[in-house]
Every structure is written in structure tokens, then in C-alpha cells.
Symmetry: C2
Subunit: 380 residues, 2 copies
């Protein structure tokens, strides 16, 4: 087990009807105003927006609103919101939505103190401070509600890149799973696949942190089981709550404890796919890549994947486990190949070039360009 | 799944040779001096003391030392150390040792701001602030390194009682599992049983927080497996590290997430046993109680215990699972009955009176005095 530092200062308030605490919590922290960042309107339908405004107003907290964050959130909008926050004199950032909204809010919170927020993504400027960040989560999957990461897409350069900083952990995240009960199942499944992939990025890295592996198995099984239950009954609050908390734990630092880092090749590949085709959701892009990645690598190092096959799928053979994994994702209505995602064969070279900005990708299983080409063919 | 708030601000630095960071971390926080609290000398033998002093001196942090904390730490000593800390003008408390040392340090950190620290235990004064607390853990089990709880014994009144406050979470805990490699196996096993019992106090409370149950199963299995490995080879660093981190997770808030609180009857009973006989270690007292508690209650509500029997012991019958649990504890050399602990039959009435300060005990399975008597007879 590798040495590690763990420090996750985010406070979580979780459950039905907990959102009313928001304003009072911000007030207690001395916040007098904030910029509220939101997506394209779903929070007006699920009731979160009204509850947020009510709670802010009761606590006497002024706010300005910035709407329009899309899936695969864009740099240009983050820059606009930073300008709006400056003009308003925001003391805090309040994100109300899913991972894209939260990630945009993180870019805004840090961007106020930088020449240009994109500089942090391309490692030209370092994040040294940020406005306090509060979040109200309405779609589980990215884990952004309890970590210091954010992913933003620069459409001009087709780069979907990330930042990671202790300054952009939310101070408080409120998770009321009942807001997710009106989601189309496809979005629940996308979120579940995102959470599954966060665990799998670590899971094959190292066999020594046994407690982390067994916890990760607990999370993988729970996420899969809860998603199955929600496919049958989207109003199953208990399944919704267990899925939501599992997704938070999947990327709050615990799932990589004691590991030599994760692999993250599949995330790198998916980021290229959705940078090129922003209509591809992150979860679905991952569903098209991950089973193929396991299949490809298990031919080279089968022993690394046997524990997963056995513990998660109760199979002695990795290829049978991959088959069951892919079938499960298909049963949730997810695309499981690049073809399903409407990627064209003649785009593969461009995708390869977008990914291979370094000689190899993958922190654990290093793939060069030719190996990556084979993997993409297998995923096709 | 119940609503919950989770906020654990403790920073963990974990691994071999990490202790050297201590002084610099305290210096970064603006700490210029501290009171170092320790036990009866084991940290001189395992090397932790020398490394702590070296790190403090390199960072220019002044210190005074307070030694002598025993297992089942005592109020009288905590009061003495509070006086010493006041006289020294301590800016921080530094605990170097196991759970007893850490708990004493928590009492000292909070006690400096109270008329008398025991008032917090008997709920006459509320903890509203505390000195910053740093810990160096040298024996895993209590979980005190990453929570806001402390247990202290008042010998005069035979009360072993606890406090819980957000102000006494350590700011930083350093866990170097290699300091534990020189422990007698009995102490490792005591710590393991303590961690197991922290999980079991929650595990039977509620079947709805599925993710918490599956994580708790992961922890129970890992703790048991690692303890078996350490019995064969105390120098197995990887087993030591996995056991240490599992014990931390067993009581850092995660193991009770979404539950309607825990039961804590077994802890209440054990606290009476070791308040009366301070030579009984907490872990061993729990080993003598917990299997009997499961056995006793499973006759009334068998269905509550079936999941544990199946998932942890691979048994369809609870009584077979209890038998295997008890055998496992015996194989580690732990006492598994009150008789083994040298409790005399004529002490049972006194123990009953010590425990029954309320009409029933147990947050989940409420036991009245007669039921508790039957349970104690079964545990005898």
C-alpha cells in the first residue's frame, strides 16, 4: 500500500428536504451575496431552483444568476460568468445542477483570481485561491460535489481538459436525491457509468491496497444494483439515495487510497470523443470505451483483471465478465461501441491525434499510438 | 436511507517515513509551541518519539511533555495535563500514541476552555472551542485519529463516559503503520476487535443504506483477513497498512452513513466492565460481549442477522456464524466470555447497575434490565 495524504474538507448535507438549510449555512459563513450558476432549466422543473431562491431570500443573501451551462461545459461560458461575477462583486459561487454546472462553478471560483482560467488548465497559471463554493447537486455521476477537480472544454482548440486543486473543493454540497427522480433513465445510467468508470480507473492499478479494492467492489456492485432498480422504478428513493452517495464516494479520494495513482486512459479517450462531438455524453462515451479497454489489456495481462471478473461478475474468465459488463450497459440503453456513438471510421485518425499529446497514455497500462489505434478499432 | 450530514475535516498523512512532515505542517499552521502527550513509553521503543522530537525541533516548535496515559485513560491525568498546558501556554496539543493518548489529548484540547472537562462528559458544559489537535497514531483500533469522539474514565465514580464534538477532530493525523510492527499480537487483535465492533454497532441497525452495508462488509472482511496475516507475520507491512486504514474508516463517520444511528449497547456494557476492572482492554471486553449480544438478539429477530452470517461468514445460520466469529476471536487469543475476563459472578449485579443509568440500553435493540441480565448470563 502506497503512502498517501487524504484531506476532504467538503461538508455534505444529504437527504430529502435538506435544501432549506442552504441560505442559513451560507449566512453562518458570513456570505452576503453569491453568483448562482445553473444549466438549461431542468432545475426549474424539478423544484430545486425555487427551493434555492427561497432559502437564499430567507437568509437575506443577494444573488445574480448565470444560466446556460451545457453537458461538456464550455470555456467561453465560464469566462463570461467570471466577468459577471467580477462585476457583481460575488463573495461566493453557488452551483445548482449536475457535474457540468459544478465544474463551471469551480472554474469561475478559481478564475476570478487568475489572468485567464484556461491558463490553469494548460498549466500556465497555478490556482492559489478561489471564492468559496457551495453546490446543490441534481444529477449524480461526476463526483464533483466532493472533490477538487473540474473538466472544461475549449471548443476553439477541441481540448477537454481538467484542473485539480485543494482550493476548489466545495465548502458545502447539498445532495437531495429526490430531485433526480424526474430524470430520463438514460441520464441516470450515464451518471452511473461515469461513477463506475471512476472506480475502474483505479481498480486495476494495484493489488496491494486491499481495503480500497474491497470498498471499490462494494461501490461497483451497489451502483450496478441501484441502477437496475431505478430502471424498473425511477421513484425508488432508497435506490436513488444509495446510487447518489455511491457516486460521491467513487471520486472523493477514497477509491484511489493507497494506489499508485489511477490509469485514466479511458477518460482521456472519452474527453477526445466528446471534445470532437459535444453531443456525446461523458457517461456514454465511457461505456463505449471501457469494456473494450479491459478486453484489449486482458489479452496482455489477464491476471490483472481476474479479481474484477470474479468479484463483480462472478466469472472465472475475463472475456465472459467483459461480455456481461457490456450487456449490462446495453440493458441500460447505453451505446457500447464507437459505431453506436456515430463516430465515423475516418475520424479515428483525428481522435488519435487529439489523444496522443504525449508519447503514451495511461498511468498504469501505458499505450503508445499504435496500441491505442488497435484499442479504438476494438471499441469500434 | 436516512438523511445525514457528513463533515470530516481531519487531514491524514499515511505511510512509512511520513512523520518527518509533522513539524513543518504545524509551522505552516502558525503553531509555535505545543504540549506533547504520550503513554507509558512504547513510543520511545518504536522510534516514534525520536522522530517527533526531531521534526518539531527542525521546525523550531517548542514543546512540553506530558507522559503516563494508560489504557482506559483517566480523568485525573487529563486534568493534570490541562493544568500543565495552561501553565505552558500551549498553542496546540500533540498526541503521540494509541487511542487512549489521543482521547486524553482531545479532553485536554477542549478542557482548556471549560471550568472542568468532566462537565462535558456529564453534559453540564458544552464544548465550544478547543486547541488545535495533531496526532501521531501508533496503535490502530479506536478510530480516534479521524473523529470527534473521546472516552475517559472517572475512577472516583466508576464512569467510563464519552464526548463528541466537531471541535475535537484532529487537524492532522499522521499514521505510519510501521510503528505497529513491534506490538505484541494481542494488542493488534484488541485493536482489530475494537474496529470490528465499531462497524457492528451500526451494521444491524438498518437495511436500507445498502452502500454503507456493503462498505462495512468490505471493512469487516479486510480487518479479519489482515489480522490473520499479522498473526502469522507481524512484519507484513501491507497487512499492517490495510488494517490501519480500515480501522480509521471504521469510525470516521462513513460506517454509519444513512443509518438511524447505531446501537452501542455492547460499548456501553464494555465501558462498565473496564471502568470496574481497568486492566480489561477495550477490545477484549468487546470480544467477550459482542458474539453473545448477536446470539441473544438473533433469537428474537433472526432476520436482522442473516445478512451478516451470509456475507461475512458464508453461513446460512446465524448461530453457526456466531460460532465462527467466536472461534476467530479465540484464535487471536482474545477472551470471549466474561468468565475469561475474570469477572466474578457476584459482580454481575454491580455491572448491571452501572450500565442501567437509563431504563433501557441500545439505540436499535432496546434492552431492559432483565434482558440485559440474561445477555450477561449468556456472555458469562
Amino acid at each position: 500500500m502506497e503512502s498517501f495524504t487524504f484531506h476532504n474538507p467538503t461538508q455534505i448535507i444529504f437527504g430529502k428536504n435538506q435544501l432549506s438549510q442552504l441560505g442559513a449555512q451560507m449566512h453562518k459563513d458570513g456570505i452576503q451575496n453569491c453568483i448562482l450558476i445553473a444549466g438549461r432549466g431542468s432545475i426549474r422543473k424539478n423544484g430545486a431552483y425555487d427551493q434555492v431562491i427561497d432559502s437564499l431570500e430567507k437568509a437575506g443573501i443577494k444573488y445574480t444568476e448565470a444560466w446556460g451551462v451545457e453537458a461538456n461545459p464550455r470555456l467561453a461560458l465560464a469566462r463570461e460568468i467570471i466577468a459577471q461575477a467580477k462585476e457583481f462583486g460575488a463573495q461566493a459561487v453557488l452551483a445548482v445542477g449536475g457535474g457540468s454546472v459544478l465544474d463551471t462553478a469551480k472554474a469561475v471560483a478559481a478564475g476570478l483570481y487568475l489572468k485567464d482560467i484556461w491558463n490553469a488548465f494548460i498549466r500556465k497559471e497555478m490556482i492559489k485561491q478561489a471564492l468559496p463554493l457551495y453546490t446543490v447537486l441534481t444529477l449524480s455521476g461526476t463526483g464533483s460535489e466532493m472533490n477538487g477537480n473540474a473538466v472544461i472544454t475549449n471548443i476553439d482548440t477541441s481540448q477537454k481538459w481538467s484542473i485539480s486543486s485543494p482550493f476548489i473543493y466545495p465548502r458545502l454540497s447539498i445532495i437531495d436525491p429526490s430531485f433526480q427522480s424526474t430524470l430520463p433513465f438514460k441520464q441516470t445510467a450515464n451518471g452511473a457509468m461515469d461513477a463506475i468508470s471512476h472506480i475502474l480507473e483505479f481498480y486495476f492499478a494495484d493489488e496491494k491496497p486491499i481495503v480500497t479494492l474491497t470498498i471499490n467492489e462494494a461501490l461497483l456492485r451497489t451502483i450496478t444494483d441501484m441502477t437496475d432498480l431505478l430502471q424498473k422504478d425511477p421513484l425508488d428513493y432508497n435506490a436513488r439515495a444509495n446510487l447518489a452517495w455511491s457516486a460521491t464516494l467513487a471520486l472523493n479520494g477514497l477509491s484511489g487510497i493507497g494506489m499508485k495513482g489511477g490509469d485514466w486512459a479511458c477518460h482521456g479517450i472519452e474527453h477526445a470523443l466528446s471534445a470532437l462531438h459535444p453531443e456525446i455524453s461523458h457517461g456514454e462515451g465511457l461505456a463505449a470505451i471501457f469494456p473494450a479497454w479491459i478486453e484489449y489489456l486482458s489479452e496482455k495481462e489477464p491476471s490483472r483483471f481476474l479479481r474484477w471478473a470474479k468479484c463483480i461478475w462472478n466469472e472465472e474468465s475475463v472475456s465472459l465478465a467483459v461480455r456481461r459488463f457490456r450487456s449490462k450497459l446495453q440493458s441500460w440503453g447505453l451505446a457500447t461501441s464507437l459505431r453506436d456513438l456515430s463516430i465515423k471510421p475516418d475520424e479515428l485518425d483525428q481522435i488519435l491525434d487529439m489523444i496522443m499529446v504525449t508519447p503514451t497514455i495511461g498511468g498504469v497500462f501505458k499505450l503508445n499510438k499504435e496500441e491505442l489505434r488497435s484499442l479504438l478499432m476494438l471499441a469500434y
